[in-house]
């Protein structure tokens, strides 16, 4: 078995001789994207003229389809077919895995007469144009026998149950310690449903090439999408070629596939023509997953000098009646602060809402909105600075497991952030700073998010021109995967970036787990480094065994690669020259990464600290973020620019979570109230003032051979709590129900007599 000790050896990424690692390199695919020429799934040009599909969403949340009338739709101009559960093609049974190693089961569309959620696709129209398909879809008549949905989360708390297979985590005696604590906080926070709102909705272009179903689709993970589609279509897994080259945002919402993929493939098979199907913006809200709402009770007990003696975070959340997803909003608290007596856990309510699922930093994004606000309340009660309170409760080892930290620079993030932000200018008492009509305040919060490494493979080839091609069944959901893989390849083989090609997002390429859980760069990158090391070895051996090479007979363990040149000592030649002569068809090497068997001996996370200044209009309760700073420690940074974009993007999402974002449920209908981006508000440019993210120098040698960690989810963790705490500091009102919209803040301001 492998060990983290295996990763201690030097490698080109660590040595970074040409300085490409960390460099703010422009996006590999940037020119294609900004010129609108990157073909996203729906824009891929198929081999023949396509037909267009529209899915008809269910108008009820729960019940049965009792009548279907498609006659008018079928007779509408340009219509090729109309499917409902009555005439949909045969598909694999839900949950079936004919291939025992399939990473996803069958997921049939238009399965039967049951409606399990509002927006579930219940009919499908294919027509010669998108417009004709939509017009016909509007003519499909469906009558339902409606059953009253149970969709009111707060009214259903008495049905909350322990998530299957999970128990609360207890350390010490929380109840006794909390009861005895001289200073306490005990409050409950609410976080609403959030929708992913990716810029690119889920979409597929499909056609058949003989027995092979070719699909271009927008997913975060290649293999499960390929396998699940094969199971659904009841064909061999190799008979699905799945491509996902450019993806307009995922955020967890494209970690699974939806009916548009299945229906595109089935439609293309039925008509013998390429098919394009996309979700509408409105349909995305219900037809795909969402981040579920939570109610979180935080109890903190501390000594008068600010040492936590008791800490609890208990989360109630919800998922679909037939689902299993748990928003683990309490998990992060298990590793954040020292406290000898601890209680954390989750309860789950099953509701007749669409499926709950992962969304950027599942757990932390919701959970830190409560605990980090509670810490602010505790600091105030103690008369301590919130930064100092956190430093006083910095654990030496993981407070739950007792395991050592791989590396933990939370205190440094807090201290450096406080200094850079000018935290010393904060008035501890709220409501003391005015700027015109605005009340101004500062707040801060810590950030923590786990780090992961999954198994992955990769291949590197070099051709006679000396061009390196990276191939991997990986995805780039806008995070920078293409770019960091190119940097790793260039640094490892000592070639300029312009001599690297990256091919990803294809089921025929060496498998990688895709993008999610901020494991992408570490996982895909480590496999790429391994492939690069193997290609170095292959090139060294090629040269050493080639009588025509100046390197012939040289010691291959002393080979170096720089500026497109392979060298042993002072003997060298161009890589291109060597390959052209000795391996004119090119040379390919594969590599892989596996998690180290002993990696779990360390508590491993990424950390950060957010600082925020807001202004509150005391007349209207409107809040405006003036400036925000995040300081992060997340291992070695591969690309300063793409990493910073990830972090600031997360911080902006945190601002949205604090101030704007959330979808309310109308329990009468089991549906969300906001169905487009005019109603579901995310921050716009004008909502974000001065914003910066700083990354501390760090290497985590227990993480992977490169010592890097993920940043895709760290930025959102805690960011919203910093905004909430700044609002309190500005105006003295605590709103524990996110988002902190003017109506809620106004109620507090009025109650204060402002």
């Amino acid at each position: 078995m492998s060990s983290v000790a295996d990763w201690e050896a030097p490698n080109p990424v660590k040595e970074n001789r040409s300085g490409l690692i960390g460099k703010p390199v422009d996006r590999y695919e940037g020119p294609l994207k900004v010129t609108g020429t990157a073909p996203y799934a729906y824009e891929v040009e198929p081999p023949a003229a396509p037909v267009y599909g529209i899915m008809v969403p269910a108008a009820i949340a729960r019940g049965r389809i009792v009548e279907v009338d498609t006659a008018e739709a079928e007779a509408a101009p340009g219509v090729h077919l109309v499917w409902t559960h009555r005439n949909a093609p045969e598909q694999g049974e839900r949950g079936a895995r004919v291939h025992p190693r399939s990473t996803a089961p069958a997921r049939p569309a238009l399965e039967n007469d049951r409606v399990a959620y509002f927006g579930q696709p219940v009919a499908f129209v294919l027509a010669d144009t998108l417009e004709n398909a939509q017009a016909a879809a509007d003519l499909v008549r469906i009558a339902y026998a409606e059953e009253p949905p149970e969709a009111d989360f707060r009214a259903s708390l008495d049905r909350a149950m322990d998530p299957p297979g999970e128990e609360d985590v207890r350390v010490g005696d929380f109840e006794a310690a909390f009861a005895a604590a001289p200073v306490k906080v005990d409050d409950t926070w609410f976080t609403p449903v959030q929708n992913h709102c990716q810029m690119e909705p889920c979409a597929t272009t499909a056609w058949w090439d003989g027995p092979t179903c070719v699909v271009h689709t927008s997913v975060q993970m290649v293999k499960p999408a390929q396998h699940g589609l094969a199971e659904t279509l009841k064909i061999g897994r190799d008979d699905v070629r799945l491509l996902t080259r450019y993806i307009g945002g995922g955020f967890g919402g494209k970690g699974q596939t939806y009916d548009e993929l299945t229906l595109a493939a089935l439609g293309a098979r039925a008509l013998g023509r390429p098919v394009k199907v996309a979700f509408s913006r409105q349909h995305m809200m219900h037809g795909t997953i969402h981040r579920p709402a939570t109610l979180q009770r935080v109890q903190l007990g501390a000594t008068a000098d600010g040492k936590l003696t008791a800490m609890s975070l208990m989360t109630v959340t919800h998922c679909h009646r037939e689902g299993h997803f748990v928003e683990h909003a309490s998990n992060f608290a298990r590793s954040l602060y020292a406290a000898p007596n601890r209680l954390t856990g989750h309860r789950l309510v099953k509701l007749d809402l669409p499926g709950a699922g992962p969304m950027r930093a599942p757990g932390e994004a919701s959970g830190m909105l409560s605990l980090e606000a509670a810490m602010d309340e505790l600091a105030e009660k103690l008369g301590l600075d919130p930064v100092e309170l956190r430093i006083r409760n910095e654990p030496e080892v993981d407070p739950e497991t007792g395991k050592p930290f791989s590396v933990r620079q939370l205190v440094r993030c807090l201290r450096e952030g406080a200094q850079l932000f000018g935290w010393d200018r904060r008035m501890p008492q709220p409501g003391r700073v005015r700027d015109g009509r605005w009340l101004v305040g500062m707040g801060m919060a810590a950030a923590i998010r786990g780090n992961f490494l999954l198994p992955a493979k990769c291949s590197f080839s070099v051709d006679a021109e000396g061009v390196i091609t990276v191939k991997q069944g990986m995805t780039d959901i806008g995070t920078g995967t293409y770019t960091v893989l190119a940097q790793i390849a260039a640094e490892t083989l000592g070639v300029p970036l312009k001599d690297v090609r990256v091919e990803i997002g294809d089921s025929e390429l060496p498998p990688a787990p895709g993008s999610g859980g901020q494991f992408g760069a570490a996982t895909a990158g480590s496999a790429a480094l391994a492939a690069g090391m193997n290609l170095r070895k292959a090139l060294a051996e090629l040269a050493a065994n080639d009588p025509e090479s100046p390197l012939q007979g040289g010691p291959t363990d002393q080979v170096t690669f720089e500026d497109g040149v392979i060298a042993i000592g002072n003997r060298s030649e161009r890589i291109a020259t060597l390959v052209r002569r000795a391996a004119p068809d090119g040379l390919t090497a594969e590599g892989e990464i596996r998690p180290a068997a002993d990696a779990r001996n360390w508590s491993q996370h990424t950390y950060g600290a957010h600082f925020c200044e807001v202004a509150v209009d005391p007349i209207t309760g409107e809040t405006r973020v003036r400036r925000m700073l995040g300081v992060f420690a997340a291992g070695r940074i591969l690309n300063w620019k793409t990493a910073r974009s990830q972090l600031t993007g997360g911080m902006i999402w945190g601002v949205g979570s604090a101030l704007h974002e959330g979808n309310a449920v109308d329990p009468r209908y089991g549906s969300f109230i906001n169905q487009d981006l005019a109603q579901y508000l995310v921050p716009v440019q004008a909502d974000i003032g001065e914003l910066d993210a700083i990354m501390l120098d760090e290497v985590d040698d227990k993480a992977n051979p490169m010592g890097i960690k993920g940043v895709g989810e760290l930025g959102i963790a805690g960011a919203g709590a910093a905004v909430a705490n700044a609002i309190y500091n500005a105006c003295g009102v605590r709103v524990r129900e996110y988002p902190i919209t003017p109506d809620k803040l106004l109620a507090g301001l009025v109650a204060q007599g402002r």
Partner: protein, 316 residues
């Protein structure tokens, strides 16, 4: 979207004639609201008459010292006009508080006035809505009605009119000029354009079918300061929770009713020497809520009082 036919009107007379003669026809100019609603199957016109290229986009001085704003002037054009910015700044402020630059570049003045409510239940075709489907009921009444009307609503409809621009026009005593299918022109106060929902909330305005708004006329501005204030959930590109336009002693409220709401009681109180706070309280004595929109009464009171004080050089 349902199939529809399309024609480009040659002149205003032809446009109103076509509108009167073609069943289920609608005018289209910028299309920033109508096309959205058609795509969502909320509006189902069978014929569109494109008036977007008619020569009705001029902003001209009038003999009485006001201006005549062509119905097809874009929102951006009006907001950028130096006469408007200097003499009717409340109108320029209101326009730039609405939509986004892209929308304001496309949206016409007439279209802005005729935009439809943003009520979530109006937008979701699976829900009851008397405005969208007369007789189907009102989903908002006992639903998620945070944005709903607090003035002039009925048991049939609590939707609000979403325009910012119209609120300023209401405060400025604007007149609307329309061309009727019979060929005649008529002119009436903007406050008589929109109607309260009553039992027929599907009818937004008092326009006769086929009538085309050709211009909005502003009289010379009233004495005194002008200001437009809008409270919203984010800093830009968001429907208002409440808004207020003040021009001298004239006050109008926005996003609180089925139409831009001229605060006559508040104005009378102000004229009688009441404080801004007292005046707006007098206006809001008739306000009522449906639960979640109760905060709008408080918000409107504070926002309007602050705006009135601001025009009088008081307050922050």
């Amino acid at each position: 979207m349902r199939p529809f036919t399309y024609e480009r009107a040659a002149d205003p007379q032809a446009a109103v004639k076509a509108a009167a003669e073609t069943p289920n026809a609608r005018f289209i100019a910028g299309g920033t609201n109508l096309l959205d609603l058609m795509k969502l199957d909320i509006e189902q016109p069978s014929h569109l008459i494109d008036v977007g290229r008619l020569p009705l986009a001029q902003i001209e001085d009038t003999a009485d010292g006001g201006v005549r704003i062509g119905g097809l002037a874009t929102n951006s054009q009006v907001a950028a006009d130096m006469r408007i910015r200097s003499r009717w700044p409340v109108l320029a402020q209101a326009i730039v508080a609405g939509g986004s630059p892209q929308l304001r570049n496309k949206a016409s003045v007439a279209g802005n006035l005729l935009q439809r409510t943003r009520c979530n239940y109006f937008y979701d075709t699976t829900k009851p809505c008397n405005k969208r489907r007369p007789g189907s009921g009102c989903g908002a009444l006992e639903g998620l009605n945070r944005g709903s009307a607090i003035l002039g609503a009925s048991h049939a409809c609590i939707a609000t009119h979403p325009s910012d621009m119209a609120v300023a026009l209401a405060a400025l005593d604007a007149q609307v000029e329309v061309l009727s299918p019979a060929g005649g022109e008529r002119r009436f106060p903007l406050l008589e354009l929109h109607r309260l929902p009553g039992e027929t909330p599907h009818v937004d305005t008092h326009l006769v079918p086929g009538e085309l708004i050709t211009a909005v006329l502003l009289p010379p501005p009233p004495e005194g300061g002008q200001v437009y204030r809008k409270a919203r959930d984010r800093a830009s590109f968001a429907a208002g929770l409440a808004s207020v336009a003040v021009a001298g002693g004239q006050v109008a409220l926005g996003m609180v009713a089925h139409k831009p709401w001229r605060a006559a009681d508040a104005e009378a109180a102000l004229a009688g020497g009441a404080t801004a706070e007292e005046a707006i309280s007098a206006e809001l004595a008739q306000a009522s809520d449906n639960g979640r929109n109760g905060f709008k009464i408080t918000l409107t009171a504070r926002l309007a009082a602050a705006a009135i004080d601001e025009t009088r050089g008081r307050g922050a």
